[in-house]
């Protein structure tokens, strides 16, 4: 029945694709328990409450809620939702409305250095959120092409930073230099040195984070937002600086927080492995493991296993 009163905030969201079944939500909390953002990033993050705000037409609260901005549509929650509501679509709809209303994202997003950018559009093709796009601009009299990042869509995962062959795109805190500078291990004893690049989202439980910190300093842990942020060059720099092994940890297939970071890094590392093989250097020095949300305690096996293998390799 077409009602003639003006479209409420909830109606607008319902009109968006994925927002149709919004009202089926009976606030059971499964999505919040599957999602890791509240645990790892923002205590106020709560998709269930955002749906309630939409249903109750609480427009301003919804625009100001961190949930609107931090959801990276990884869809861990959607297959678990008993009412089969596409929660990330609803959040995206709210975000689009918020952007229209002039709100902006609190997230650290990437910027393009136009002095270096050659407009090759690799970042445009890589980004799962379609944040970068090519623009034409006149620079001292000559038309030139650059990539420009739409801050509202950028989730700050850094996949484009690793993909850019020029290093022309960067996010403060995870630039190539800042990561490479952490690759140094001064080993005194004979135990093998290992660099562990680990994404922020593949260890679900805090207990596993403690395991990670419990290793002596011959194991150097480098946190990156997504395993997709890894660049094979960093692995080579590590090996070249005398480090014995490189372990890259990403999320299990289908569970990447930024949708495709784990596939991207598994491609990079298998190509790197193939190249090391061609140079007959392939002896398991570089490994990529994918940890699922239910793989509690597996990080210990992976690191211990690698250290043992490196020890055998060395002797």
């Amino acid at each position: 029945m077409e009602s003639n009163h003006p479209l409420t905030f909830a109606d607008q969201v319902r009109a968006m694709p994925g927002g149709e079944h919004l009202d089926l939500c009976y606030s059971c909390g499964t999505c919040v328990s599957k999602c890791m953002i509240q645990q790892k990033l923002e205590p106020e993050y709560n998709p269930r409450r955002l749906l309630r705000m939409v249903m109750m037409d609480m427009r301003e609260e919804a625009f100001n809620s961190p949930t609107t901005w931090l959801c990276s549509a990884c869809d861990l929650c959607y297959p678990a939702c008993p009412q089969q509501i596409h929660i990330s679509d609803v959040i995206e709809a709210v975000k689009n409305l918020a952007v229209e209303a002039g709100y902006s994202t609190p997230l650290e997003t990437v910027e393009v250095d136009e002095a270096r950018c050659s407009g090759c559009a690799i970042c445009v093709m890589t980004c799962p959120y379609e944040a970068p796009h090519l623009i034409e601009k006149e620079v001292n009299g000559v038309m030139d092409r650059f990539s420009e990042v739409d801050a509202e869509n950028c989730m700050g995962c850094g996949m484009c930073v690793a993909a850019c062959p020029m290093g022309a795109i960067a996010r403060p805190g995870v630039s190539n230099a800042e990561i490479s500078s952490q690759i140094d291990i001064k080993t005194q004893n004979s135990s093998p040195s290992l660099v562990v690049f680990i994404c922020d989202w593949c260890l679900r439980v805090d207990a596993d984070l403690e395991i990670l910190e419990s290793y002596p300093d011959n194991v150097r842990v480098i946190h990156i937002p997504c395993s997709g942020r890894i660049d094979p060059q960093m692995a080579l720099i590590a090996l070249n600086s005398g480090i014995d092994g490189v372990l890259v940890c990403g999320c299990a297939p289908g569970e990447c927080h930024y949708q495709r970071g784990n596939y991207v890094s598994s491609c990079k590392l298998s190509l790197l492995d193939k190249m090391l093989g061609q140079m007959d250097l392939a002896n398991g020095q570089v490994r990529f493991v994918q940890l699922g949300t239910q793989d509690r305690g597996r990080i210990r096996h992976e690191i211990d296993g690698m250290l043992v293998q490196l020890l055998q390799e060395a002797s």
């Binding site: 407009g119 993909a163 850019c164 020029m166 094979p232 596939y263």
Partner: protein
Amino acid sequence: MADKPKLAFYWASSCGGCEITITELGMRLIDVGDLVDIVFWPAAMDFKYADVEALKDKEIDICFYNGAIRNSENEAIAHLLRRKSKILIAFGSCSHLGGIPGLANLFDIETLLERVFDTAPSLDDSRGTRPQLKNEMPEGEIEIPELYNRVKTLAQTVEVDYFMPGCPPVVDQVWSVFQTILAGQLPEKGSVIGAQNKTNCDVCTRKKGSSGMRIKEFKRPHEVELDPEMCFLTQGVVCLGPATRAGCGLPCINGNMPCRGCYGPPDGVVDQGTKLVSAIASLVDTDDPQVLGQILEGVVDPVGLSYRFGLAASILSDLKYGK
């Protein structure tokens, strides 16, 4: 310079294309001849090593050294010319990055010699002979240079003042470099001359990929009808353009063939190969782990593809042979 500047050319381990590119200057070679005094150019003029040794140190103003360091002779002459010349330019991909000879780093010496002297298809019977460093000949004892285990670039052997990339460097760039030298406007030491600082994509006019456009299957250039208007990556063909310095005027891309990366990495990038691998791996379009493996089968020879010219200068070589 008071009188005519002294110029030297040397041809180490390379195909000689860089020498020919000088001759391509054509009539302009004559003007160069008037302005400069070429004191050493084994490929074109009959100078001997003794003539170079006879020169005072730093007497040669500019020395164009092309070719990788493959054997003891290349190294010796490199040191000699370093001593004798004020400015030493690594001319062409081989001296700049190792070039095609650099690909020898994929194999150790024994495999190479075995291939050449034993198992090569053109051999009818191989008695396992190997070249000897010293040989007694009727005319007397002759020596041949010793083959090093690792192909090195010029900069990995001696201190190099300027780098001029290209396989070979395009003749117009050579001419413009001559002019800058004659005008004495060379930039500060260690920089790359005869090329721009951004990548080929900056100058390439093909239509680039849009968001979400990804590679479902890698194809080799001969396996697909290449569309001259579209960027190669959007057609699943790996082009090294995005990771290669601009300056060659895109002869390959305009000839509808993907760029092979001979001009080396752009400013600020150390290792061209891993940068390219990182880029194309980001474009693979699947979220099914099994399909991932099949797609990567399409990249048949990753080292040959991404390090066609830069293997000697790459970290992979350092890893294999140690610093």
